[in-house]
Subunit: 353 residues, 2 copies
DNA sequence: CTGTTAGCGCATTCAT
DNA sequence: ATGAATGCGCTAACAG
């Protein structure tokens, strides 16, 4: 091995990558006959170089199979072009829709999304926040406005735009895109009472990490108390069961056992409302004649059932796209005039009520 | 401003980060009275430093609110601790389950997941592959074995473990975790024929980017041809409609119009089978007396319907966890003995057939 | 429009 | 067990 120069002390063999993507901008530049810096510029802003230079570089990129290394780009520019997103669970279609909306708004701007599911647990959310911040995202989206104190502190200190979603809050960490779960249930209660229902039962699954469901319960209690001040609000709530269709049967039975005279069941989710509605067919309970049933979320199944399910439609996708819009603006350094967006909701009156 | 040293020419102000996470390992080390390297070691392997040193460092981390920068770590170590995953759509619960399984296997090992949805389009998949490889993931998971030529080439050249999932293929790019969609449908056909059905119709939604649905159709054609060599296989397929419950009604009507004497409908997905089954109630079609109906996927709704839906259960979550297991082993540099895992499927016989 | 220089924050390598 | 030097691949800042 020829050694043409004397290495200074402490000099070692270079750590150059062996892998397939060992080619760097310098390699591309060498191939194209320009400097690495020009390659960098050409890739980020093609108009900043001569058309001829651009052509040479593009050709060199192709020839060398070059794939840009974003980690290095991130380190040098202090921009990761990533947005972190935390949702309660990946397998709930409503949150998946929100993420779809987020992606629709962010992808065209070149941002990638880092997704995590907290499994409805604030401690896991905190762990995710901590771990995600290590990747230095340029923005953060999180479902919910309730967080552990350290998680909120981390997000506040991160120095990046943060959007909370799916709820309404007086004191968001930064920006907010949501709606009032309370008001939505109040709307359901108003609808039922207007149609002659008198003995309403709130039927739901409540878990510690799901403040949105708790808000719906509170909204129910408030709305019923306002109309029937002398009555105790009727609640049929389970808290150990999963938020799934078959739990609807369980909640239905609980409600009927505890309140045999009920004439309307206000479910906290379409998922359990659907399970209950299908069970009613088997049990011979006539809906809406014997019992009105309402859901929440306007899931795909709601419109397909017989009778079709009355429910609250939430613009889940729009929550994501609005959040993305706000994040993009803020990440660009623009001052966001209105950082709180109420996307509202819509009562879908169908046959079940 | 005191200037105690003469700057060499070309010297500029440092680019040190201003943001909240400006603290580096050097800052932590200074606070703890050790070098940055010791901090680095302590964070990665707490046993490699003195308990006392560890304590000092942990305290310093807390005091300075230090959050490790993974981008720098990645660049220096050439390990990103990320796995990229591409699925057809985020909002399909079956794929969400697979991702959940993947996360279950990878998170404990410290890997984070980069998720993308191709929207059932191979060109978008290629774009995602390209963009994801720029992040230099340590492993790659992708649903499907069909890819554009450049996408497959990129994955092959990437020099990282790749797992394809949800199908079966003779020539995977690298590793494979799936099952035979053909065999699954053949199993359904066998079941129906054994129970006296003679005029089977394949009812489905086919889209260019969904080879799994196409496999199911092909499996149907093969199985029927093997049993009734003289007949032309009956197909009721729509290709412009979304894969949604309400499309089931459309497919049902098409099948009945085209094959009025059909005695069994083999749907390509529980989603459309459920929509069709619910429509049958409204239309007065008795299931299974007039018509047997089968689905695919064993979605949550399948067991809740009346009659409950006969379907193929796919271990969706296990596809993800097995993929994660294989990736972890390969990323550790272990030689994976069996890189092809057939997770199989199960016929769930219920009331609808 | 293009090249040069320095450094982003960390892990690796070697020395102690 | 700990420290010092070096470079990962890229972009910012500046010079020409």
């Amino acid at each position: 091995m020829p050694k043409t120069s004397v290495d200074p002390p402490g000099r070692r063999a270079p750590r150059r990558r062996e892998g397939a993507f060992g080619t760097t901008m310098a390699d591309v530049g060498r191939e194209a006959g320009v400097s690495a810096q020009t390659v960098s510029r050409a890739l980020r802003d093609p108009d900043s170089v001569t058309p001829e230079t651009l052509r040479l570089i593009q050709e060199a990129v192709r020839k060398t199979n070059y794939v840009q290394n974003f980690a290095a780009s991130h380190l040098a520019s202090n921009r990761s072009m990533m947005v972190a997103a935390i949702i309660p669970t990946i397998s709930a279609s409503v949150f998946a829709e929100t993420i779809q909306g987020l992606a629709d708004a962010l992808s065209p701007q070149g941002y990638q999304i880092f997704l995590g599911g907290s499994d409805y647990r604030l401690d896991r959310e905190e762990a995710l926040v901590r771990s995600f911040l290590g990747r230095r995202p340029d923005g953060f989206f999180v479902v919910g406005t309730r967080h552990t104190r350290p998680a909120a502190a981390l997000l506040r200190r991160a120095g990046i735009p943060v959007v909370e979603g799916w709820e309404w809050s007086a004191q968001p960490i930064d920006m907010l895109v949501g709606f009032s779960n309370r008001a939505a249930i109040a709307r359901v209660v108003a609808h039922l009472v207007e149609h002659g229902r008198r003995r309403l039962v709130f039927a739901g699954v409540l878990r510690p990490g799901d403040p949105r469901a708790a808000e719906r319960r509170d909204g129910f209690v408030e709305a019923v108390a306002a109309r029937f001040p002398d009555e105790t609000p009727r609640l049929a709530i389970v808290d150990g069961s999963p938020l799934a269709m078959h739990t609807g049967v369980e909640v239905l039975e609980l409600a009927r056992r505890r309140f045999p005279d009920a004439d309307a069941l206000v479910f906290s989710s379409d998922l359990i409302a659907s399970g209950a509605l299908l069970a009613c067919q088997r049990l011979g309970i006539r809906v809406p004649d014997d019992l009105a049933i309402t859901g929440f979320g306007n899931y795909e199944i709601a419109a397909e059932l017989t009778p079709a399910l009355t429910t609250i439609a939430v613009p889940t996708r729009r929550i994501g796209s609005e959040a993305g819009r706000l994040l993009v603006a803020a990440m660009r350094g623009e001052t966001v005039a209105q950082g709180r967006v109420d996307v509202g909701f819509e009562l879908m009156v169908r046959e079940s009520s």
